[in-house]
């Protein structure tokens, strides 16, 4: 049977294949394991890093902060660089999951704007270096939504019944209601949270759907008129559908930072710091910001961006917007439970 010979040839070839791969990786050069969000980097950057430093990069990706957290918590892995968001960094710090970064190895940190130093999630800048930031705002169809869109109230406007999308998670949705009422995103006052939930219950008949990423397609395809969304993505959406516009509510909004950190158990801390430093260099920051549409915290990188992006007030809103905005901090367990409870009541 010829097929059998073929089968065994294939078996032998297949057994040898990974070793051929190993022969490449087990060179004396160093390798670091980087774990970042999906679609959050200009791919060429990693190759450039290897060319410059000789350190190879194993680049893998995740979809949510919680996914990253559980992977690190479960053990059995050794990542050298991870990129959690603000509130997840504060959680990881409090659970002793991060290594202190030796900032003398990260000279490019000087380019990171003062606004992004010592933020609430890492008050002394010991564990993290900002990678990207952005704000949440309102994306809407300017041909069909009339009047001045400048407040979260538009998401409660009965004229757009069935045309409004809302975030499908407790923190973001209750947060928007809190802001609408003039409270803080990080409040631990139970009655304020209950008022916010009541607002959401009032809004529910107007909402077409509670969704996350589908906001992108739905808004682009004109299936809905108003939705909250991330500024970085809004820029891309507006390029694809020129009817769309973006506004930052006057009550203030969520300002998020995703930052690079080194988890406990990293095998190549030095190389990880080299990588973080490289990612902070102006040229690389600019490349990533241009590719992803999110905003770079590096002042030096900002100068390298094309004027159209640099002067875009959606990506780089002025201080008046940022001063009113808040980052999420990690909430106490009891409040998180209350969030879940209230949110279940709203959507059920």
């Amino acid at each position: 049977m010829k097929f059998k010979t073929f089968f065994f040839a294939l078996l032998i070839a297949a057994v040898c294949l990974p070793f051929a791969g190993c022969a490449r990786t087990v060179k004396p050069t160093q390798t670091i394991n980087v774990y970042n969000w999906g679609e959050y980097i200009d791919e060429s950057v990693n190759a450039e890093f290897t060319k410059e430093t000789g350190i190879r990069v194993n680049y893998t990706t995740y979809a949510t902060n919680e996914e990253l957290y559980s992977k690190l918590k479960a053990g059995g892995v050794n990542y050298d660089v991870v990129v959690p968001s603000d509130y997840m960094i504060s959680r990881m710090i409090s659970e002793n999951m991060l290594e202190k970064i030796d900032f003398s190895q990260v000279p490019n940190y000087k380019d990171i704007g003062k606004k992004y130093h010592n933020l609430a999630y890492d008050p002394n800048d010991t564990y993290s270096v900002p990678y990207m930031w952005g704000t949440v705002g309102i994306i809407y169809d300017k041909t069909k939504v009339t009047g001045n869109v400048n407040s979260w109230n538009i998401l409660w406007d009965a004229r757009y019944k069935g045309q409004i999308l809302m975030f499908d998670n407790s923190r973001d949705s209750i947060g928007i209601a809190l802001k609408k009422l003039g409270y803080s995103y990080n409040t631990i006052n139970q009655s304020q949270l209950e008022q916010a939930a009541a607002e959401l219950t009032k809004q529910k008949p107007l909402v077409q759907a509670y969704v996350m990423d589908q906001i992108f397609d739905k808004m682009e395809g004109g299936e809905a008129l108003i939705a909250p969304y991330y500024a970085g993505d809004a820029i891309t959406m507006m390029q694809e559908n020129p009817n769309l516009a973006f506004a930052v509510p006057k009550e203030g909004t969520n300002f998020f930072v995703d930052a690079m950190a080194i988890p406990k158990g990293a095998l190549n801390k030095k190389a990880a710091e080299t990588y973080i430093n490289f990612m902070c260099s102006a040229k690389i920051c600019a490349k990533n910001a241009e590719y992803t549409g999110y905003s770079t915290p590096s002042g030096a990188a900002l100068k390298l961006l094309p004027a159209s992006l640099r002067d875009n007030i959606i990506a780089y809103p002025g201080d008046s917007v940022l001063n009113k905005s808040e980052t999420y901090t990690n909430l106490p367990e009891s409040i998180l439970k209350l969030y879940d409870q209230l949110w279940t009541q709203v959507i059920s």
Binding site: L11, E39, E43, Y62, G76, D213, G221, T236
Partner: protein, 282 residues
């Protein structure tokens, strides 16, 4: 009109409607099966990142796909693991099936039930428990753990596709071969294996597809060096699936389709021609 005629007309029209409904139903099923794939293929040529707005024709996503290191590396990981897992689990599974066939009734029932457990238990439990085992035993999650996990969930499927073939076999065939002077190994190789070969191949193909397809178990058992394609795609969905994935899926679909056509052609040719036997000349 005569009443019989009316009745006949009535039945005739009923029959027409019936055939119409049958055909319509078949088409409906086909549309349900293939419309998503068709949409996916069309949008792999869309000159925009959008999945809803058509902005013209382009091959850009195909070019970018081959430049995208994360995707290409995960394709490599997926294929290496799937091929290796399929081959190794076929060897293990076939041997196990032959062993099981030779067992006594009660023992066989016991082993077959044990084999069914991983098939029936939820993937997430398999995934988590395998991961816990690896973490507990100090193995670092990576290529090896991924491969071991895949082999472990592939083997039962191979056993289950080989066993029926063995049951169809005349139990005296093996004895006859021995009586005619064959050594046990060559009787196995020249008599038993050729008979169960279709089951072995089916098992291998099934193992391969399951490996390529798997998300849950891979998700728990992969590490920094071994991200499979399904995990990469999942991670991309935070923003949204890039059309590169459409391009990749289109290519995979075409490859699978070609394979299927080739397999079918081979089969129909084999069925037409009288089977010729190649004798190994010693």
């Amino acid at each position: 009109m005569a009443p019989e005629k009316l009745v006949r007309r009535f039945w005739e029209s009923i029959r027409h409607i019936k055939t119409f409904i049958y055909r319509f139903y078949v088409w409906l099923v086909l549309v349900f099966f293939y419309a998503p794939i068709f949409v996916l293929m069309v949008f792999s040529f869309n000159n925009s990142k959008s999945r809803t707005v058509w902005l013209g024709f382009t091959f850009d996503w195909y070019l970018q796909l081959f430049k995208d290191e994360t995707i290409m590396h995960s394709v490599y990981v997926t294929l290496v693991v799937a091929v290796l897992a399929a081959l190794l689990s076929t060897v293990l599974g076939t041997a196990a099936a032959i062993g099981i066939a030779g067992m006594g009734k009660r023992q066989r029932a016991l082993i077959m039930n044990v084999t069914y457990i991983p098939v029936l238990s939820p993937e997430i439990i398999t995934g988590v428990s395998i991961m816990l085992l690896f973490v507990w035993s100090g193995l670092k999650l990576g290529m090896l753990t991924l491969l071991l996990a895949h082999i472990s969930f592939d083997v039962p499927f191979v056993i289950l596709s080989v066993s029926p073939k063995l049951r169809q076999l005349d139990p005296h065939l093996f004895e006859a071969a021995l009586d005619l002077g064959a050594k046990p190994m060559s009787a196995m190789r020249k008599v038993i294996l050729p008979q169960i070969w279709p089951g072995v191949i089916t098992g291998m193909l099934m193992a391969f597809t399951l490996s390529v397809d798997d998300f849950v178990i891979s998700y728990f058992t992969s590490g920094p060096t071994s991200q499979t394609l399904s995990i990469t795609i999942y991670a991309m969905t935070r923003k949204r699936v890039s059309p590169e994935i459409n391009a990749l899926s289109t290519l995979l679909f075409i490859v699978v389709l070609t394979l299927l056509v080739i397999v079918n052609l081979r089969q129909s040719r084999d069925n037409k021609q009288p089977q010729r036997k190649e004798e190994d000349v010693r």
